[in-house]
């Protein structure tokens, strides 16, 4: 066991996995000498050499494309996109190559890789350093989408992602990078992909959330003594429908919380899944507490991010709904 934050958890996992498996290669902008702008890859180039921890030119589509080209040839590359906001220049590589190669080759060629990228707001990044673009990936068949909300999960999910054999979009909530330290096992444990985590238990309402919103929701629930199931999805695609169903059938009331904009945010799919398979269990509307459908602001970002007040307003509305 070691006491670490999420950055340290990710860093030590990469270190451990690279020591065991030399098909793992890291590549990205400023990940080598500089150790990444958030320091997730700090020290790894010094340890594993510049051939395995590659500082690339400034071209996201090249980083992603190269990584795919390594993966189809039997390596396990871990490309980093410096901010998720910049990933769109590589979107064609992600949607039309990464996600579709297994399919278009009848399974003859596969793409085992883990694309890491920090996402979300709360660090005064404004329009272009704060985006939560998970919907773009969740909507894309062929991708697996994962996001941890604490150091333990970060380590376990990253380890599991590296063994999956399919492309994983690994979204790191940058606001939580250093938000919390916790005891994390030193061994190579996995957090299963596709399984949610019940972080708080209760009978009156189900709150589904993930990533950066998990601590916010958990503290709102605790502070206000809400009798809630709080589900941390951990995997956004494919989601853990069993965990959701079990909770919703018990509580009959649902609130979904995420930072991404509401329209076609993750909450839309969760809400649709619930209302198409268990509407008869519901006592109240399925509410979403999300970022608004605007670009991400700089100076006023605290208004953008879902907060305790908004979460409690929604929770109270579904609890009081008759």
């Amino acid at each position: 066991m070691s006491n670490m934050n999420m950055v340290q958890a990710l860093n030590s996992t990469l270190d451990m996995k690279m020591s065991k498996d030399d098909s793992i290669i890291l590549l990205g902008e400023d990940i080598g000498k500089d150790g990444g702008v958030f320091r997730v890859t700090d020290g790894l180039q010094a340890k594993f050499g510049p051939e395995r921890v590659i500082d690339t030119p400034l071209v996201e589509l090249g980083i992603v494309g190269m990584a795919i080209g390594m993966a189809v040839y039997g390596m396990k590359p871990v490309p980093e996109i410096q901010f998720q906001d910049f990933i769109y220049t590589a979107m064609d590589q992600i949607i039309n190559q990464m996600a579709k190669i297994r399919y278009r080759t009848g399974g003859k060629i596969t793409v085992p890789l883990v694309l890491r990228t920090p996402y979300g707001g709360g660090i005064r990044g404004g329009l272009y350093h704060s985006q939560s673009g998970e919907s773009y990936f969740v909507h894309t068949a062929g991708l697996t989408v994962v996001t941890p909300s604490n150091p333990y999960d970060a380590r376990g999910l990253l380890s599991a992602s590296l063994e999956l054999g399919d492309p994983v979009i690994f979204l790191e909530p940058k606001r939580l990078y250093r938000a919390q330290k916790m005891e994390v096992p030193d061994n190579d444990y996995k957090v299963e992909i596709g399984k949610a985590n019940l972080v708080h238990q209760g009978d009156s309402v189900t709150i589904v959330t993930y990533g950066s919103m998990v601590p916010t929701v958990a503290s709102a629930v605790e502070k206000n003594g809400v009798d809630a199931d709080v589900l941390d999805l951990r995997t956004l695609s494919p989601v853990d429908i069993d965990a959701i169903s079990a909770s919703v059938k018990k509580t009959g009331r649902v609130v979904i919380v995420h930072e991404a904009p509401r329209t076609l945010g993750m909450g839309a799919e969760l809400s649709a899944m619930i209302s198409e398979r268990m509407i008869e269990y519901l006592y109240a509307p399925i509410l979403r507490v999300t970022g608004p459908d605007t670009p991400f602001p700089y100076r006023l970002e605290e208004y953008y991010l879902p907060n305790e007040k908004r979460i409690m307003a929604a929770v109270n509305r579904v609890l009081e709904f008759r």
């Binding site: 494309g65 190269m66 795919i68 278009r104």
Partner: protein, 337 residues
């Protein structure tokens, strides 16, 4: 010239090369005709690019990996991809390696070191760079070839791949088959330089080849391949050739093109290459006639045979999205089938 004639191996190589060109042309014409008859859904003819592709292919080894593009059937045939694999893909039938999922002309032949084809042009190029990197990392021999058309040089992926290949000094050959057109756009409107010169901007070697003449093409390709193989870094090789057919069976080139090179005319690379080989005494009309007849027989036979194979099982739609079927796909499969 004399060294070639003297060496039996080189002699056979050229004859095999011409044979692949003729087989490919025969297959091309068969598929185009079949498409007009409604027996095939779509096709991108390869006529006019045979010498360029086969000339390069002759300079490659078995271990070399190719990120091919949709017009590379001649190269595939030359490297020994069975005609059945090609036809199964064209029909999208049950035996198609990709289970009938892609349009014709998007082949899969991993066992022959071809890496499969996405439709968005040039998007394989960054992958080729990654694969070349992996080969070097693993200390493997063999080079990587990435082929594409003249229009593809305008894409983001071309730029990314060229720059990264040069920065990492990788064993990769960028093979531009310049047929003069990107659908209706002539290369003069695509870019204001000669394509092979674009290599300079990346600190890479650029070469130009006569892609219309098998003998000349092979010579230049050998130099390019040799440079890459020896670790001196990537090369951009531009082969000048023609697009003798329409862009695809959906295209009507008469709307924009007046100077279409006709089958069997003096600019036809098969005619040019035959003449070159005849001039050095490697082939004669009799041999060519034999190859032609044999090609026609094989193509007709295989075409009828593969055409009969039924379509894939509808279940296949739901396979190979992930290594394991997700609950979502299971649910969707059960609803739909």
């Amino acid at each position: 010239m004399t060294e070639i004639v003297n060496e039996q191996m080189e002699k056979e190589k050229h004859i095999r090369g011409l044979g692949a060109m003729i087989l490919s042309r025969t297959l091309d014409k068969k598929i185009i005709t079949a498409q007009r008859q409604g027996r095939v859904g779509f096709y991108t003819p390869t006529m006019g690019q045979e010498a360029a592709q086969v000339g390069l292919s002759m300079a490659l080894d078995k271990d070399d990996l190719i990120y091919e593009y949709y017009r590379d059937v001649p190269m595939m045939l030359h490297r020994g991809v069975p005609i059945e694999i090609i036809l199964n893909q064209v029909f999208g039938n049950r035996d198609d390696l990709a289970k009938g999922r892609q349009m014709p002309s998007h082949l899969v032949a991993r066992d022959y070191n071809f890496m499969s084809v996405p439709s968005p042009v040039a998007t394989n190029l960054p992958l080729a760079v990654g694969t070349a990197y992996a080969k070097v990392y693993r200390k493997e021999k063999g080079i990587v070839v990435a082929s594409f058309g003249d229009g593809s040089t305008s894409t983001p992926d071309f730029h990314a791949a060229m720059n990264m290949a040069a920065v990492f000094n990788l064993p990769i050959l960028f093979f531009c088959e310049n047929n003069g057109w990107a659908i209706s756009t002539p290369v003069e409107k695509q870019t204001k330089t000669e394509i092979w010169k674009k290599a300079d901007a990346y600190g890479m070697v650029g070469m130009k080849a006569d892609g219309n003449n098998l003998v000349e093409m092979y010579k230049t390709a050998q130099q390019a391949v040799e440079h890459v193989r020896s670790g001196k870094g990537p090369v951009l090789l531009e082969a000048r050739c023609y697009r003798m057919g329409p862009h695809s069976t959906s295209d009507d080139p008469t709307k924009y093109q007046t100077d279409i090179v006709l089958d069997g005319s003096e600019k036809d690379p098969i005619v040019v290459s035959q003449n070159a080989l005849k001039a050095i005494g490697l082939v004669n009309d009799q041999l060519i006639e034999k190859v032609r007849a044999e090609s026609q027989r094989i193509v007709n036979e295989k075409f009828d045979q593969q055409e009969k194979i039924p379509p894939p099982d509808p279940e296949t739609i739901f396979q190979d999205v992930y290594a394991k079927e997700t609950w979502i796909l299971r649910e969707e499969r059960e609803e739909i089938l």
